[in-house]
């Protein structure tokens, strides 16, 4: 509701008094009406302790608070933008892929090691995601950036999905993920198929995959 896709690379957000938005700093392209942009030292919500948490976790992408009444256009770096609507579930996404989200969502930081122990940490390193990831929970919309468009693949208990770690964008729902390796003797002798590591997602929810293997 708050985000409207203008085209594949731009979204329009509506702000009204009492409805805050958070966006990546510098992602505003244009606005109409009385809108103020406040750099957010805490990098999001939840006070000083969360701020320290994010700093430690290196998930402290500079954010700004958008308040007032009017419409704002967001876009960044010519990346494709996908609007994801959440109704009570949790979205897991990298902080630097986050373009904007509604203030009604609760932002948090999750330690990947807490899901899958040591393998969780290994997974974070291999997929280049680091040891922490950002979570958004509640009701509202999120605008996520990706290189070259996004497809949504549903995950059901009967249908686990494997994703190339470099093409992974975000996922939501009750999903367990683990790093599966398909390392064989071929990879050892340098004749691998280039698909040695995969992220296995199982449970119920959806995963967003970009049409590219480039990080932002």
């Amino acid at each position: 509701m708050a985000f409207r896709e203008i085209n594949g690379k731009m979204v329009e957000a509506t702000v009204a008094p009492g409805q805050r938005l958070f966006s990546q700093r510098g992602a505003m392209l244009a606005y109409q009406g009385e809108v103020s942009f406040t750099p957010n030292m805490a990098g999001g919500q939840g006070g000083v302790m969360s701020m320290i948490g994010r700093r430690v976790a290196d998930e402290d992408t500079p954010l700004m608070t958008v308040e007032g009444s009017g419409t704002v256009l967001f876009g960044h770096g010519g990346h494709h933008i996908q609007v994801i609507r959440l109704s009570g579930d949790t979205l897991y996404v990298e902080a630097d892929r986050l373009l904007a989200f509604e203030g009604t969502l609760q932002q948090g930081t999750m330690f990947l090691g807490s899901q899958g122990g040591v393998m969780g940490m290994v997974r974070g390193q291999v997929s280049g995601q680091g040891l922490f990831t950002t979570t958004l929970k509640g009701h509202g919309a999120v605008a996520v950036m990706a290189h070259g468009g996004v497809i949504e693949i549903p995950i059901t208990p009967q249908r686990p999905v494997h994703v190339d770690p470099q093409a992974y964008v975000a996922h939501h729902g009750e999903v367990r993920n683990k790093l599966s390796t398909a390392l064989g003797w071929r990879d050892m002798v340098g004749r691998g198929s280039g698909e040695a590591f995969q992220l296995e997602l199982s449970g119920s929810g959806a995963v967003y995959v970009q049409a590219s293997e480039e990080k932002l």
Binding site: G149, A182, V207, E214
Partner: protein
């Protein structure tokens, strides 16, 4: 079965059969899949020798299994090509995936290849089935008939199929030598009956600089 999930993502539904795809281009899959590296230049000993000689560094992998597999590469636009026994010529860097039953090989292209900055060899795909080719921006398919030959900028050429003769044409004049060229010194000319795929973007070629 090849289908386009979006203009930049190819979805392949598989029931135990195999497809060949560019190394590392899988972005996601469900079901059971196995990935095995193949190499360009064709199968067997002959293919191996061809690879050594031509330096055609295309690496393909074989994907086999049950379920759906999604492929994408650097956000390139994807075009599906159906082959009924005819031959598709494509730059190896523009080939994303083919049906397992299609034969892939390496062909000598002569001077044209060098002008495109792609080396002297190109990849051919032959048989009955589908292939997916990539282009920088959505490609247009241009029909060539005996009455209407087609001339293409080497940097914008992606692939061609059908019964076509190609020749290399140069528009070098004394102006080009003086450094006053229009940037279109070399062209590829197609004559005969077939289809040519052209992308709305130009690779860096020697021809573009003069």
């Amino acid at each position: 079965m090849f289908r386009l999930q979006s203009s930049k993502v190819l979805a392949v539904d598989m029931t135990g059969d195999a497809v060949k795809a560019k190394n590392g281009s899988m972005v996601a899959y469900d079901g059971e899949m196995a990935f095995k590296k193949l190499s360009g230049g064709g199968e067997g000993i002959r293919g191996m020798v061809t690879r050594r000689l031509t330096g055609e560094q295309m690496t393909l992998m074989e994907v086999k299994g049950r379920g759906t597999c999604w492929f994408a590469d650097r956000a390139s636009e994807i075009n599906l090509v159906g082959l009924q026994g005819d031959k598709l010529y494509v730059e190896s860097s523009n080939l994303l995936a083919t049906d397992g039953g299609l034969r892939t090989g390496t062909e000598f292209t002569g001077l044209r290849g060098a002008s495109q900055g792609n080396g002297l060899f190109t990849t051919s795909v032959e048989g009955h089935g589908q292939a997916a080719i990539m282009s920088d921006g959505p490609a247009v398919v241009l029909r060539v008939s005996p009455q209407y030959p087609l001339t293409v900028d080497p940097g914008a050429y992606v692939a061609h199929q059908g019964n076509l003769r190609q020749s290399f044409q140069s528009g070098v004049t004394f102006r080009t030598l003086l450094g006053e060229g229009g940037g279109e010194a070399f062209q590829m000319r197609f004559e005969g009956d077939g289809l040519v795929y052209v992308q709305p973007s130009e690779r860096n070629t020697i021809a573009g600089d003069v």
